[in-house]
């Protein structure tokens, strides 16, 4: 019985990791829609506000891909301690993609919610 529960927890854990990774790109674009942010600020904001706890290192290859796709841009600016920091911002293309993603996400979230036990049909 305990073994079954462990297996189930493990399966839920794997599913959560995949789910978080799947929405990470959307969450990054959403976070950058307010203002430009540097890497640590961005990932700690995501962990705090969206409760998406992924290994922080996964952020940087993803940022590289988003930049390559023309969705974000970066610039170096002085940080708090004087050392330069890389600030990321949405490009016009990224902003346009995000505008298209928001209704898709809302529709998906609403349709999954409607399937949950207790949801009105």
């Amino acid at each position: 019985m305990a073994r079954q529960s462990d297996d189930s927890q493990e399966a839920i854990g794997r599913w959560e990791v995949q789910l978080r990774k799947g929405v990470l790109e959307f969450v990054i674009l959403l976070s950058l829609s307010d203002r430009e942010q540097y890497g640590f600020e961005l990932i700690s904001g995501i962990a705090k506000r969206a409760a998406i706890d992924v290994p922080e290192g996964t952020l940087y290859p993803l940022m590289l891909r988003l930049a390559k796709d023309g969705l974000i841009s970066s610039r170096l600016a002085d940080g708090d301690g004087g050392a330069p920091r890389k600030y990321y911002a949405l490009t016009a293309q990224g902003r346009e993609l995000l505008r298209g993603m928001i209704p898709s996400w809302s529709k998906l979230a609403a349709s999954v919610d409607s399937l949950l036990p207790g949801a009105s049909a």
Partner: protein, 194 residues
């Protein structure tokens, strides 16, 4: 941008971590090279944001939250090596990228294995073309007395009739070339869809 550590053990752990990052990024494209600086800045910020603990503990916590370099850089390396390999038609680069893809996750593993099998088939066709002049009676398409047909490099071909003769060479080379182009274009299409 290495911080001035007061604890030599913490400095060694920092160096070991970024040695691993450098080792992996050496295989990546030039645009990924600046990622080392991004990661260093991240660890410095993460240590500065930590409230308690000594320097070594704050470093360990920051590196632990960042994750192992192999875990987050492997998918990037797989993508970049496959992309580079398919653009240059370099089988070694493609094979290296596929090996990273296989190790990087389940969906990637299935795709990596499928393409790996495709390239194995390609190697068999190429080997057939090369071995036919040397080992002609064992290479080709064979029909046995009971009507069964076997193709490829066959050790036990006694009593079987070879159907293609020397045509095995151009046919095997043509199939190898077609398969190579199809696999490479397929990989490139997959990369573009990601």
């Amino acid at each position: 941008m290495t911080p001035a550590f007061t604890d030599p053990a913490a400095r060694r752990r920092w160096d070991a971590y970024f040695y691993e990052v450098d080792r992996l990024l050496a295989r990546a494209d030039a645009d990924a090279a600046e990622m080392r600086g991004d990661l260093e800045a991240h660890v410095v910020d993460s240590m500065a944001a930590a409230s308690g603990g000594n320097e070594g503990e704050r470093l360990d916590a920051a590196l632990s939250r960042l994750g192992r370099p192999i875990d987050y850089l492997r998918p990037l390396l797989a993508d970049q090596l496959i992309e580079r390999g398919t653009l240059t038609y370099s089988p070694i680069t493609i094979a290296r990228g596929l090996s990273y893809a296989v190790m990087a996750g389940s969906r990637r593993a299935v795709i990596g294995l499928a393409f790996g099998l495709g390239y194995l088939l390609l190697a068999i066709f190429t080997s057939m073309a090369l071995l036919k002049p040397l080992w002609g009676e064992h290479v080709g398409v064979f029909r046995y007395a009971d009507g069964t047909v076997s193709a490829g490099i066959i050790a036990q071909s006694d009593g079987a009739r070879e159907l293609l003769g020397w045509w095995s060479i151009p046919i095997a080379l043509l199939l190898a070339a077609l398969l190579y182009v199809a696999l490479t274009k397929g990989l490139r299409t997959l990369q573009q869809r990601r």
